[in-house]
Symmetry: D2
């Protein structure tokens, strides 16, 4: 296996060029925050300890049902993917773990652990796949998986999820994320109640196979690939699942899986209140499950989600430790650059949320002073916290401007020399 | 008090003119259904026993924030409204009960009962109002009611709801519907968690005041009058309320209170499955809470909702007895005509759902035969069941064509002579 | 080439079994319509002359970005596809033409014409593809085609469209449909104005290559595959294109390409009024471009679209001759069955629209009698016109119940014996 | 008439307290921008010359169809409203003009001009009202105004618009904004084509009455108060209007009048490209026409709109001079505070858009470097430009922190002493 890591001196050299400007900006911001009674050092420390997992499937170029247009140096397998994830972590210091997707990332756990350790990486939640058929699969998921009318198909899907747990346990993962596309395209195609009963029974079997210290995340989604109904269609159904299964079961919130106009931050608040927020799949969207880069379309919405998370920390909610994961499809950018940028955007929203004056906010809320309450959020949000993010990266050994450093490093060209070119796929599906 | 009831001979005369055509259509439909093994008489009987409550506020002309354009003979008070409701019931025989809205309909319960009995009417669920301020109200609901930050305001709202229960108990009602507009217009204006805690605590007090055989319906709504967040924003939150309060608490589903593209029939199925479907506010909508006439925009959606209700009956779900109520705003029609028509549309959807061949449907579902499953629904849906509806009305003493009979009767002109004209309101609100 | 046509005696035998019931239903409906002054024979004649084109890509099983689950006997190439289209036409007599998609359906035009003639088929609008990359393509469409920043890429896309015209001319087609996925996934990725200028210039070159009696249809779509902006995003932009290009350019309306809650029938009316309605891609949708079977989700919406078309006929709009085409993705059904069913649904909406009493409707509209106006539409809509559709099919030599006859015929099993099985595709794209 | 202007020394005193912090922040930002080659002084100058009109109806507390909860010191008439507008301008120096709404603001033009001059105010576009009925109105707008089936009603609406032009001409206004709520609540209620023909004919009469140097703005809106169809429902129809009428007719874009998920900035670009962007009604929305404060829900969207405006300036588009107007409903805040804050948010988006490095952006666009293109926008957007906005206000004689100064001034209490309290309205409309 080649080692494609970016040489430390490349990072150092690029940082050197940017150090003076960062110092000036960090100092100016520090003085401004100090005037408001905020210690920039404390914020920087908190940001340094905030991490988000990278999805293994995110480092390859994504696509739509119409086509996929691969880039150069596409990763061939999980070991290539881990190399790419290693670079993201090296430059951002915000992404020390990787989320695997089985069966695509199936490999000898010892080799996986060894490779990850070389790169300074660990493993986050495992992801099963029962939304497409594998080459040698006995039962097709065309008409569903965990909710399928056929018991053998459901058993196969349960078995696959248990296999994911076992591999994850060998890797040090502590959670399984279950997303199924089960649903229907026609009114009447499925019986809503019976489908959900079958889903719950199958999930109960998976739940039984969970190690003591694991969590089970169920993920809801309004539609796609099913276009009339989806078994786990919204957070209401997702909550019923987590409640029915037990304390280790919690809900995963993907920011792009909601109906138009939905107030997502409110769903986050409700799940926190009832002890069922498991974590996030971060991304952004304008229309549906667009899987765009986090914060690229509605950055204020991302901030408002983090405002709830920081508020829960502030209130000391017991048992509150949501998993932070990215889930994006990078169709027109270098996936490594998008993941670097997205990890930064997520930290940015966190840093801005940390700047909210929560005592003042509570006062305005209690006084029904809507204008000053919202202005309190806006003041935090419009603070340009980039110096804090850059400083946190620099202190941890990362890059001040990680995308720029990545480009300077020539990483993509280097891996392209080793990884064969892939032809564009004509989806053939319209 | 005048008696404006339509003379029986007017109904009889209009029915006579239509009897031959109805006989022919009923016979032809009966023969066609018999070929499929369905007894038209049994369906007609079931339809005859299906009722939906009329909202007292529905017989006056509605409006928007921009304007209200009253019609002729607007009801002046609850007794005028009961007269109008009496006519609807007289002609449709589908609406034997009225839902009151307090404080607008507040009156001596004895007088209310007496008037209703004269008209052959009873009382359905009571509706409280804490979304606008009364003239002599101590605390304003500008910033909320049951979830208000101020304890005295919450207490006032609780008190009002208890008063509604008491009046309802005197009238023979068995349920209280609580809809609040509480929410916020700005991010940060309210704390989602604290607001909901306050709401739940206030509702618990109302719950305690419920008579043994009453139910408490909470109603969710995505937005309006609050435009950023709403305390009871969706069925997920609504379920949490009903579960937290106890067995007498159930969820009310208004067909226009959901996010765009929402699969409402699936929400209905989930609430049935978890024992929390309290009932409906029927209407139709294209954009938001448009409060249009039931079945006027998406009649197939109304059918799909009834498909779930009839399926629950068919499966013999225990404790299943949802309340059927209309909640509409009639801005451009004679409200009596819209309510007659809507009651018929709701019965139509019920009749069509009764025609679904459920054994065949289950077979197609078990065989993943999506095309024939959906065709099974469509076959029932496209049956023109108007002869069944008309026959059910005729047999019960109503009108074969109730809107036509209503027009012939001259009712609107008669009440207009007694009820003074109302000038159009310039909302002044843009 | 095999001949898989269904034997005439199979159709005849199945029709025989159903003749008596159809006769009875047709007679009963005829009597009912006659009472309202409508001649069922005239309606049946009009329905018999209404046709809709089948898309060549529709006879193969479709999929999503997550997976594709092929069925048995998937067509291997355009000649297999034509066989399948032939069966649809044989049984429905509603689909005498096929719409080709290039490059997938590229073949010797003489062979195509000969095969089509054997099957009694002709060719409707040609469809170009510049949303995915072909194997031997010089310039990638990853970042656009007709609006690409690079002139050579645009020229290649123009050239491809001209090639489609040339092939179509040889086949007797009279129109080219251009849909491009060009757009962006990030704010700032493209300059809206420059992109549209490039698109217009490229389309002008294609327009110049049109034969005298051809039309050019541009198709708008809100989003997908681009998730932030799309060059031809709505009917407003589509109208600007058609107006800029000239009289042979018109707009194509796909029922699934609009924003949530859009009033599509109104867009149809506007395009008719301004002489720019080119035609339709019929399908149905609940969320986005779901490409579900026509009339399967909102049948009343389909009726309302046809209400506009029949109204334009009724008013004698000059130059009004929209193209009727289906564009669907059949993921969970036998595509042949879905296309048979969809062609029937489209004819159903047409037949129902023909039943609207337009003189009465105009009277209600002029009198602001909203209730009776909408009831006039509803009366036509709720007429079960299946006997008319079946009779039209029977008279033209088709099947009374075409899906049933298709199943009896064993067509799918027969082609499956010849066409090799295809393995399910794991999209690999999340 | 009282003079409620805020004493200059109050402003000066509050500015003094904030001067040192502003100086420091302005200096630090200037240094940072200078590093990127941007002159903060030039940006400050441009911001100082950017103005937005205040709507007269915005200084009163708004409401919904459910209720209206007035605040203290509600303005009684246009002269009170002008006082309030004067304060907004005095503190922000961003709102030197007022947009009047007739008939509410009808008064002797000489008195209006005199009062405005005292306050340093001028008059922006006139707004007509044909969506509600006045007390002494001959023909009701219940079923429409400019598109009404009745010629006399249309003539009355035309006459009213001409009266608005005449009053505006006397006041120095240069534009008329026409928004009508005409539409329908039921399929079939109106004929789409005939309605639009009547609308166009009526607008043509208004157009003829325009003075030479005036513009006519038509405003589209998806829905409300009509809930099935609206005559001017989207920008496509709006464009057809402007094109049909002539060069003085242009389209007005209200940010809350679009379908869910619509890319509004793209519509802005299209209207600029085709010479038909008349101007804006700024506000923000999450669900429908929520009329929330500009920038309060999706501030990045507001920035992206301004990105198009600044880009048009940058490209030197001929005849480009859109009108900037606010149109909001302030239901839970002091309207003066919301308008101060909104004017600032609008200037903020303009200032951020000015910071976009357009040469770099064009380079990234030409190179299909989506990541850096969007990052170029984001860099400008995340700059905290508050010091520029504050400095622009200070230099022009306004307040560094205008909301704070307003609160210190005691203005609301002073006017409340003179203006009688208004009772909360129970809408009575559900």
């Amino acid at each position: 296996m080649s080692d494609f890591r970016i040489a430390a001196d490349i990072v150092a050299a690029d940082n050197d060029r940017r150090a003076a400007a960062l110092d000036a900006d960090y100092r100016a911001l520090g003085e401004k925050l100090a005037r408001g009674g905020v210690d920039i050092g404390a914020i920087t420390d908190k940001v340094s300890e905030f991490f988000v997992a990278v999805p293994s499937w995110g480092v390859g170029t994504g696509g739509t049902r119409f086509a996929r247009f691969p880039g150069q140096g596409e990763p061939r397998h999980i070991f290539d993917k881990l190399d790419d994830c290693g670079v993201i972590q090296q430059l951002t210091r915000a992404t020390p773990t990787v989320s695997l997707h089985i069966p695509w990332d199936k490999a000898d756990p010892k080799e996986l652990k060894a490779k990850a350790e070389t790169l300074g990486l660990g493993f986050d939640a495992m992801n099963s796949n029962t939304f497409s058929d594998g080459a040698d699969q006995a039962h097709s998921y065309k008409f569903g998986s965990l909710s399928h009318v056929d018991a053998a198909t459901r058993a196969q899907a349960v078995e696959h999820n248990i296999e994911c747990i076992e591999l994850g346990a060998a890797l040090g993962s502590k959670a399984l994320t279950v997303w199924v596309g089960d649903g229907s395209n026609f009114p009447g195609q499925t019986n809503f109640t019976k489908s959900f009963e079958r889903y719950l029974a199958a999930m109960a079997e998976i739940y039984k196979a969970l190690p003591e210290d694991w969590r089970l995340f169920s993920e809801h989604k309004m539609y796609e690939p099913a276009f009339y109904s989806t078994v786990v269609q919204d957070w209401g159904t997702n909550f019923l699942i987590a409640q029915t299964l037990g304390p280790k079961a919690q809900c995963l919130v993907d920011l792009g899986h909601h109906a138009p106009n939905t107030n997502i931050e409110m769903i986050v608040a409700r799940l926190i209140q009832f002890g069922k927020l498991g974590g996030f799949h971060f991304n952004d969207s304008k229309y549906g499950d667009d899987d765009l880069d986090a914060g690229s379309i509605e950055p204020y919405r991302l901030f408002l989600v983090f405002n709830e998370l920081v508020d829960a920390e502030y209130r000391g909610v017991t048992g509150f430790h949501p998993a932070h994961m990215i889930d994006q499809s990078h169709n027109v950018t270098d996936p490594i650059e998008s993941l670097i940028s997205s990890a930064n955007e997520i930290r940015r929203a966190y840093a801005q949320a940390l700047l909210v004056d929560r005592a003042a906010l509570a006062g305005y809320q209690d006084g029904n002073d809507a204008l000053m309450a919202t202005e309190t959020l806006k003041r935090a949000y419009r603070t340009d916290v980039e110096p804090i993010l850059a400083e946190a990266r620099r202190r941890a050994g990362g890059a001040i401007d990680p995308v720029a450093t990545y480009r300077v490093s020539g990483y993509r060209a280097k891996v392209s020399a080793e990884r064969p070119a892939v032809k564009g796929g004509s989806g053939g599906i319209v």
